[in-house]
Symmetry: C2
Subunit: 131 residues, 2 copies
DNA sequence: AATAAAAACAGTAATCATTATCAACTTTAA
DNA sequence: TTAAAGTTGATAATGATTACTGTTTTTATT
């Protein structure tokens, strides 16, 4: 891994990713930071998100409407994706084991990560009864 | 749902998706069929795959290197995605329950589908020891 | 502080998967 | 048949992501 210099923009991007529970896209992060950092470039957001992925500091959750959605919380947990509004929510399913080390043991598959995704209608969209 | 006419190309696309366990991309399906159907258009493959999705005849498994991967087998099962070669494999984890009807009951989330994805290194790449 | 090498950046162009358009061709129902 | 509706190939458009390039910032060293 290459050595990295300090970068206030990189810090701002990482902080934004970690301080939201929206499971944002690169563009969302860019638009949130742009007012405070007028000379921020969308390419910089993509570049740094790619870096965080390489470093394992963030993870990719899913792809919604062609946009990759990321999460700064890399502790094991599941996600719910709303088929209507596209919002991504954390699911606290403590009872589910994320100790997958033995789940596929003896199969030859080396598991590095496990993801559980629920798709459906979120409470907000369910109430709105929009269709 | 609109009414659909018979279409030999649509049938060929659906048959190809269902007869492979590669969890193909649209382009893969196109390239497999092209030799036998020289006047097939990539747009037609995309158009019909979108149709199958709407009808619930196929499902989206994941997104690998920017390409959406689909599955003609819509019975409940998990998938393993190789971080090296990008191949997608079926995982027969019979012990895992796909009866998610009550898993998020009382939370307000209406679950329509559940996906379990394992990421790691597949047996083939593991043997090759490529890095 | 000056300075040079390395890293990061903005701005823009390029790439690539997917979708939209539209005129020509098929299928269907009568 | 025939006309309406559905399907298609070819191509253009879209939109997310990546690559490029000249400039700016950071860092390590005087």
């Amino acid at each position: 891994m290459a050595k990295h210099n300090f970068s206030s923009k990189r810090n701002a991007i990482y902080d934004m990713v970690c301080s939201t529970d929206t499971h944002p896209s690169a563009r969302w992060v860019y638009e949130k930071l742009k007012p405070d950092i007028p000379d921020l470039s969308l390419g910089t957001v993509y570049r740094n998100i790619a870096l965080f992925k390489d470093e394992g500091k963030i993870r990719v959750v899913c792809n919604v409407n062609g946009e990759e959605r990321i999460d700064g919380d890399i502790t094991p947990h599941s996600h719910f994706i709303c088929n209507k509004c596209g919002n991504v929510y954390d699911i606290c399913d403590k009872q589910i084991t994320f100790d997958f080390s033995s789940e596929l043991s003896g199969t030859g598959y080396i598991v590095e990560s496990k993801f559980i995704l629920y798709y459906g209608i979120c409470p907000e969209c369910s109430e709105k009864k929009i269709h």
